[in-house]
């Protein structure tokens, strides 16, 4: 008998529901966003304002804004300097498991891919943390695939406790959790949560998330809110640009972050801009390829709409792009990145999630930041 596929707008039994209208507001606005209706005049009007409305944000993400990229960059650089000064924050991710129950057709970890799976023992986690700490980094992001039996909440808790003993700032980019689970991980030492919706278009979401708990769109959407209810300090948002129409996805991700900040004003908000990278024959599956220019447009629009938000630039991008993005819009940059399981101390225990384009060490990225006249910042969080 074939197992019935979950309706992507429903929840599984164990998934917690919270009272919130943010998803409805984001989806209504994203649906109404017709990016080709905007003109240069609306872009110019947005560029002279001190505080941008969601409508201004729409215009900056529209095709009409493309001829104004330089103007946007000039203003974004000023905003970034006003808010963050010369500071650029350094961090690195540590993948601790790549076991995954989800069937996401774009992801290297998806459960149907015949890849080498691995999970770090806690001793191995500690060895990796020790090696990363020796590079001088003080901010770490722990990542896993979604498998609640192999990399369950207790395992995550122990890994977070170890990380918190080496690093003042511990973030997690794991499967979405219930409020009590976020509270538990916060008590273990995690303060930051990253969850990316991948695409905000529910139909497209259903097409590319074909199985596993991740198929539930609303449970994933509300993860940041549950994390804040679970006492986390900061939450990160993002769409995997290129999965769907990037204008709409970038708009929805920005609006999602904007509404969350309004509702939880104490929260630290950050945005990531991962981009689906080209690979053989993917044009049929993913026809919305995003160029570097378009990627930069999204980053600049985020900066101008939300001057207070951190923006992270991924190692999926080439070094030159990353070097120019920091200080202009990006405020967080990873260094010495490995995207297999482990790999900082010992040989990687599992295969990689995707290919990275910038393999520079912490020292190299530090040097690049200094050469730009900016200040590498290793820690910006004190856990009390």
């Amino acid at each position: 008998m074939t197992k019935k596929r979950l309706n992507h707008m429903e929840y599984l039994d164990w998934m917690e529901l919270i009272e919130t209208d943010i998803m409805d507001r984001v989806l209504r606005s994203a649906e109404a966003y017709l990016c080709r209706q905007y003109t240069g005049r609306e872009v110019e009007s947005a560029l002279v304002k001190d505080h941008l409305s969601p409508g201004d944000f729409c215009s900056l993400l529209s095709p009409a804004a493309m001829p104004y990229l330089e103007d946007m960059a000039v203003k974004a650089r000023l905003e970034t300097r006003k808010k963050f000064g010369n500071c650029v924050h350094l961090f690195t991710p540590l993948y601790i498991s790549n076991y995954c129950d989800n069937y996401c057709i774009y992801c290297g970890f998806n459960c149907r891919n015949k890849i080498c799976r691995g999970i770090l023992s806690l001793d191995e986690v500690e060895a990796e943390l020790e090696a990363i700490a020796a590079t001088g980094l003080k901010d770490i992001l722990l990542l896993t695939g979604e498998n609640r039996s192999i990399s369950g909440i207790e395992y995550l808790g122990e890994a977070v406790k170890l990380a918190a003993s080496y690093f003042p700032a511990v973030g997690i980019e794991v499967y979405p959790l219930n409020v009590a689970e976020y509270l538990f991980l916060n008590k273990c030492g995690a303060d930051f949560v990253s969850v990316y919706q991948e695409t905000y278009n529910p139909q497209r979401y259903a097409q590319v998330h074909r199985g596993g708990p991740k198929r539930s769109y609303p449970y994933r959407f509300h993860a940041q809110e549950r994390a804040l209810l679970g006492n986390m300090h900061g939450v990160a948002f993002g769409a995997l640009l290129g999965l769907g129409d990037y204008h709409q996805d970038a708009f929805a991700a920005g609006l999602h972050a904007y509404f969350i900040q309004q509702k939880y004003p104490h929260s630290e908000i950050s945005l990531s801009v991962p981009r689906l990278r080209p690979y053989i024959n993917n044009r049929e599956l993913f026809p919305h390829e995003v160029s570097e220019k378009q990627l930069l447009q999204v980053m600049l629009a985020y900066r101008l709409f939300m001057p207070y938000a951190g923006i992270t630039i991924s190692t999926r991008e080439r070094a030159t792009f990353r070097d120019h993005a920091v200080g202009m819009a990006a405020t967080r940059i990873s260094a010495s990145v490995k995207v297999g399981v482990g790999g900082h101390k010992q040989k990687e225990k599992g295969d990689q999630q995707f290919c990275i384009a910038d393999t520079r060490s912490v020292k190299d990225v530090h040097q690049m930041i200094v050469q730009k006249g900016l200040q590498p910042v290793y820690t910006d969080h004190v856990r009390v």
């Binding site: 006003k82 000064g85 010369n86 001088g136 104490h266 207070y308 200094v370 969080h381 004190v382 009390v384």
Partner: protein, 255 residues
Amino acid sequence: MHDLLTIGKHDFRSRFILGSGKFSLGMIKAVIEHGGVEMVTLALRRANIGGEANILDYLPQNIVVLPNTSGARNAGEAVRIARLAREIGCGDFVKVEVIRDSKYLLPDNYETIKATEMLAKEGFIVMPYMYPDLNVARALAEAGAAAVMPLGAPIGSNKGLCTKDFIKILVDEINLPVIVDAGIGRPSQACEAMEMGVAAIMCNTAIATANNVALMSKAFNLAIEAGRAAFLAGPGRVLHSLAEASSPLTGFLED
């Protein structure tokens, strides 16, 4: 003439306090020297003690460190951060910052009063960052603050003395040094604040984002000194329109 700024039991010749959060650390020594700065803030969450880019490695020995509690969302967190700062040897000064809004970075006055009271009881020299409200300033004084630090405009905005009238009320009514903390964008604005009797200026973004940070630091120092001298001298009367006859209303009197 000795015109010292007294905070707690400490005297300072300089009335220019430098915020350090937005600087390239390699430049900070030159900024301190050109600005005649004696006190520099330190965000504990940024102090990478023993590690790379640790601000304490860049500060001259004679500088008084003013640790702040940035990152605190409530009084309890501010108190714990202040204690940590004292444990790592930052002394007894603390600038209380309690911020529950990541967008505008406006201080939470209510939690700030609570933190000030707790820290003053523990012997800290407490300098609270606040929204300029007279009742709050009185409560802070009552709670044991050594100075009050009202904002001139939102942090990083460089908009100047948007809250000028309210800061003037604090200068007139509060018997503590009033130090304008955030929003000062130009030396002329610092001078204006000093002219009206503010005790000192704290500045960060305006200098950190200048093209020549050392020269801008010098400009701020000169402006602060000029404003202070003008305040001490007592400015003459300023006419708002045409010149006036000496007694236009009472000139008719015969004896």
